[in-house]
């Protein structure tokens, strides 16, 4: 069930096990470039977004996770976990980076981080 992204071992940083993230929930990874929120969906897929809502910087890690989306806790924007894009009438995109899961271990592709764009 590897969500495969090609890369060398050095590009991938181990951050923990899938079980350490609650299903339909999120955990934070603190990094030099700010907090990254790791999400685990009901289907056990893992995604990583910058922990800042494109709307007003809300901590997305604190939102309700449903399907492959999260609802921002501050003003309920809904963000697509895979693309970081706001869903529906709202426009904006949260920073995100690739994740791979190998043997239950979550690896973060921090080198390939993509900046978000928002209305801040």
């Amino acid at each position: 069930m590897d969500q495969s992204i090609k890369g060398t071992a050095a590009d991938w940083i181990e951050v923990g096990r899938v079980e350490d993230i609650p299903r339909q929930g999120s955990r934070i990874v603190k990094t030099g470039r700010g907090d990254i929120a790791l999400f685990r969906t009901v289907a056990d897929e893992v995604f990583a977004l910058e922990d800042r809502c494109p709307h007003g910087g809300g901590p997305l890690s604190q939102g309700i996770v449903h399907g492959a989306r999260v609802t921002c806790p501050l003003h309920s924007w809904v963000i697509d976990l895979a693309s970081g894009e706001a869903v529906g009438p709202d426009e904006g995109c949260a920073g995100h980076c690739p994740v791979r899961v190998v043997g239950g271990v979550v690896h973060l592709g921090l080198m390939a981080f993509k900046e978000g764009c928002g209305h801040e």
Partner: protein, 823 residues
Amino acid sequence: MTTHTTSPQTSRKRLVVVGNGMAGIRTLEELLAKAPGRFEITVFGAEPHPNYNRIMLSPVLAGEKTFEQIVLNGRDWYEANGITLFTGDPVESIDREKRTVTAMSGRTVAYDTLLIATGSTPFIIPVPGADRLGVVGFRDLADVETMLEAAAQGGRAVVIGGGLLGLEAANGLKVKGMDVTVVHLMDTLMERQLDRSAGTLLQRELERRGIAVLTGADTAEILGNSRVSGVRLKDGQVLPADLVVMAVGIRPNMALAKAAGLACGRGLQVDDAMRTSDPAIYAVGECVEHRGQTYGLVAPLFEMARVAADRLAGGETSAYTGSVTATKLKVTGVDVFSAGDFSGGAGCEDIVFRDAARGVYKRVVVKGDRLLGAVLYGDTKDGGWYFQMLKDGADVSAVRDTLIFGQGFGGGEGTANPKAAVVALPDSAEICGCNGVCKGTIVQAITEKGLSSLDEVRAHTKASASCGSCTGQVEQLLAVTLGDGYAGEAKAKPMCKCTDRTHDEVRRAIAALELKTIPDVMQRLEWKTPDGCHHCRPALNYYLLCQWPGEYKDDYRSRYINERVHANIQKDGTYSVVPRMWGGLTNAKELRAIADVVEKFAIPTVKVTGGQRIDLFGVKKEDLPAVWADLNAAGMVSGHAYAKGLRTVKTCVGSEWCRFGTQDSTGLGVKLERLTWGTWTPHKVKLAVSGCPRNCAEATIKDLGVVCVDSGYELHVGGNGGMHVRACDLLVKVATEAEVLEYTGAYMQLYREEARYLERTAPWLERVGLDYVKKRLVDDPESRKALNARFLFSQTFSQDDPWAERASGAVDRHEFAPLAQVG
């Protein structure tokens, strides 16, 4: 000691097979078909039996088959094909230089080509006591015999592992009369093959069959003296057991290969030709690792066997490139199928089909024009069809719209056109299961009584009047019977886009169908999304909590952040903390503790709230447990300033000090707060008690306000501030504090049971009318007492301080600590 060598007269090459199991012998079958007589063949098997169908051990355990019925190749087959078979004699070493193998008996046999097919061994979790008598894996006939012996004594079995094997073992042991408990580490069964919805359905079905299932349960120790007597879990729970089956996973059996110096990783490594790092040695089956993958099902092994046989027969091109696997559970009467990747993700589209009446759940995942995965529960007849398309990478765009209905859907059958389906039903077909109303009765009522709406049908026939799961069918009957004469229903607003049902319908169904978990509700009420959204999940969580006090386990993942972490999130992502101040009273000890906490955690803002207590703003999330611990130490608990629940009870000074006070409004406020704190309600609830009609506590714009007068207490209800200020209506005047408390409990419970989620008491009261509330609370003392009793009962489960639980680290510890720190 005997040494077997081939007779010198033959020039045939010698093939030795280690492992008399499914993959090894399948390879031989294929080889004999392709190149009979090419090899002189010797087979070693560790088990004392000829080759049998291992996957059928489950039906043997359940008593549905005998061992004789599952033998694939009896000894006569080996004889007829000139194969030398040594059973009960495991190979212990391989000498690659000399090209010989030596078995336990000391027998040494030389080979030109060796085929290793040693399968795998059950993983026994290394907890203390795992070696006690009565602890078995589930792998071979010997295990099954041990289990059957234990089952013959009755008694209790604990099966560790809720995957395919564990559940088949559990079912078999149950059928054989044991009391069975499945202990599973993850929170859904077969989590690697099934999604949460299907896993939950499966769990319900097993529980219905009397198998106890403990999820999220980790084994700490196997108890007993020489024999097992029980299992202790990490949470301290002890499960008595006469038999423990470990079915937590398998490990490729590669010890022999490793000792011989063959390249091994997670398994014995092979290339696409099924050759190991030694070109004279091939390997197939569960013991191998191919392109980093290991397998635990027969289909891939059979594909490997075909390639290995072809290579052994002299072929040079055939290659094994890995397999897509599908799973079916072999528990009679439970149909479960899963294949491919159904975890969704970027660009994937989920198509979900639920037919609650038939207990069917299907989910297919499509990406672009291709099928990625499928999970089927209850109706697996299309499993093969999906699996074929999946393996073929078939373009499904042409059938995409009807994909979920399965292969049988050709348009003509009408199975997917609900109207046609309802037309096709006989008059005797039952439409409403709750009230036993059949199609004929409904159609007759529509035509003879001139009914034209759902409500009329409900009133005259009771169809769709209880759980409402047949509502769609009744509407179709109206449409079919009346044709253009049916205007359709003026639809009440559904809960959210995940369902067509209204809040009230969902609540009724939860009670009528005894739905006890969110996945249950979503399944039975045919939710259109896999796990709902931020609108429906918190509502469902509340409805379930309210309906099943003490029984329902709160789903924190369905709570808004404030209620999940018991603090209010602020615009910068920090939190505010409001300790309870009963009735607005405080004292030096509390104030000192607050001051200390503010200094210790450098809390930037302290404010007196409009709710008569103190709010600490700007607390970092990771500091919350420590802040709470300090406040707890001074006797303070959560003020629930974040909750859809009781917030504050505001009071004024009252008769104790105030020259106008008629009653002890402060004391009564404290009593009311002690009565109601901790409850969960559809929206927040605020109370107040004023000591006289000057009303300093603003009691008449509260959800429930008490205004004290000389002769007693006026109870005012349904007020709020906010954008639409509403002053309360007078409900009743009573003479004693005891009556105030009883009315309050009853009023809270009526609101809890009947208001919609996120409806405050003011709009609720306007919707149902003051007269209705009076009827339930004032005119009918029995009803009032019953409501109050239900409130008090539910309060016995809700008055635990959520801060204390979390400050101790016992609950939701993961919320407050980062997963990792990098860079």
